[in-house]
Symmetry: C2
Subunit: 251 residues, 2 copies
């Protein structure tokens, strides 16, 4: 998957006879790719600078020459994962475009579920600024009828919505003592007093392991497709209604 190793372009210097040349066993791209592979395979918990170094057969401290620190490395991993987010196919309506954006985001997280919580923490607060994406969102929202302060609010709604559902859908489940934990959740559910909670009791088969709080697996094993689809539609329909409110109130 060629991540663009633009940095190690090595111009030959014919004039100068070198007895020794830099080892160059490492590059920032290699490190970031290795880190992502580690996270994808073993989860975010087992990510560490030292493990990345081990994976690259290098001393831990060598990492620090290429990336600032642990958090900056995670930021770079994030940027790599989200690289293709802004590559939007064009859509006829702003509604279609936003829906496609949400779906595209979710597909990315599906491929790299272990970075989901990273994104919750970093992307939306963060600095790997993809101006093209932001510009397009604003364009589509203007198209929808938003302007001024309402445009900024709508922008935050779109970004919050894009990451909001999916982040939690793919939130990690406790370590991997899944068996023990699964039986805990099940016991909790089994101990349910169906007189006090008749609706939960009635819908238990549909809820068990398929609804937030009542599940022991995350989106990797049990995708919440219906919930995601309704969430997306609800938000779009809601923005539509609010945009029209604005238009009306201006007349």
């Amino acid at each position: 998957m060629t991540v663009g190793f633009a940095k190690s372009r090595r111009k030959p210097r014919p004039k100068k006879a070198l007895t020794r040349q830099p080892r160059r066993v490492l590059s920032k791209d290699m490190i970031v790719v290795a880190a992502l592979e580690l996270i994808d395979r073993a989860g975010i918990e087992s990510f560490s600078v030292r493990n990345v170094a081990k994976k690259l057969h290098v001393f831990p401290t060598a990492i620090y020459w290429h990336v600032g620190d642990r958090n900056k490395l995670l930021g770079d991993v994030l940027a790599l994962v989200l690289r293709d987010l802004s590559s939007a196919e064009d859509a006829a309506t702003w509604q279609d475009w936003i829906r496609a954006l949400f779906i595209r985001y979710r597909e990315i997280i599906r491929k790299h579920p272990n970075v989901a919580l990273l994104i919750g923490v970093q992307l939306v607060a963060n600095a790997n600024v993809d101006f093209a994406l932001i510009e397009t969102i604003l364009t589509r929202l203007e198209q929808a009828g938003f302007a001024g302060a309402k445009l900024v609010a709508a922008y935050n709604v779109v970004l919050g919505g894009m990451v909001g559902f999916t982040t939690h859908e793919f939130a990690r489940v406790p370590d991997d003592n899944t068996a023990a934990w699964r039986s805990l959740v099940r016991r909790n559910i089994a101990a349910l007093d169906s007189r006090h909670f008749p609706r939960i009791a009635r819908h238990l088969p549909a809820l068990t392991n398929k609804a937030f709080i009542l599940r022991w697996q995350n989106g990797v094993d049990v995708p919440l497709d219906d919930g995601f689809a309704m969430f997306t539609e609800a938000l779009i329909l809601g923005l539509e209604a609010i945009a029209h409110q604005k238009v009306r109130s201006r007349r």
Copy 2:
């Protein structure tokens, strides 16, 4: 023998002559409270079993007798913080109730912003099951007109929406080198090519530090009130529309 431990408050038990009684300097509640205080004050990064132990003037390993492990302790902290979430004032309409729920959740996070990302990771996937809350959500959604599989989807929409926006609004900003990072974001924004990104350029004052991706402070310092309000309204209006769709399509 009676070991003279200064700490052991010693209730006299007249009926039973004890030669020795348990020290009881610790309790699970004390540990959870101490952990929350630590997180509130110093952030989630500086939370550790060892620091909690230090705060309680106790050996790190003493913690393990009361709580299973680090993650279970964090789960308990979460349960403590969210204790009051289900204590809902009654509302006339299901729309009002959901709006109040979202607001109540956000107020809780406002008070304990450093646990926001914890919740993203744990609550929605997790086992501190508050059946009363779940039952009420289902009740209100039935009231809204949802039933069957659509009810489960709507439930997931509500829970995902409740945590989705706020989690990211209060997502932590990188460590606390805020000064350096702030200037980084600003430099990125300053380097913006306003011909390619005219809308960003035009709305820059309204966006800078007030919009996801383009901010260097989180909801603690810069609450996204307008975004949150619009997000909530959009989701409610959207659910309303979808519920009516269902009713219509059944006729």
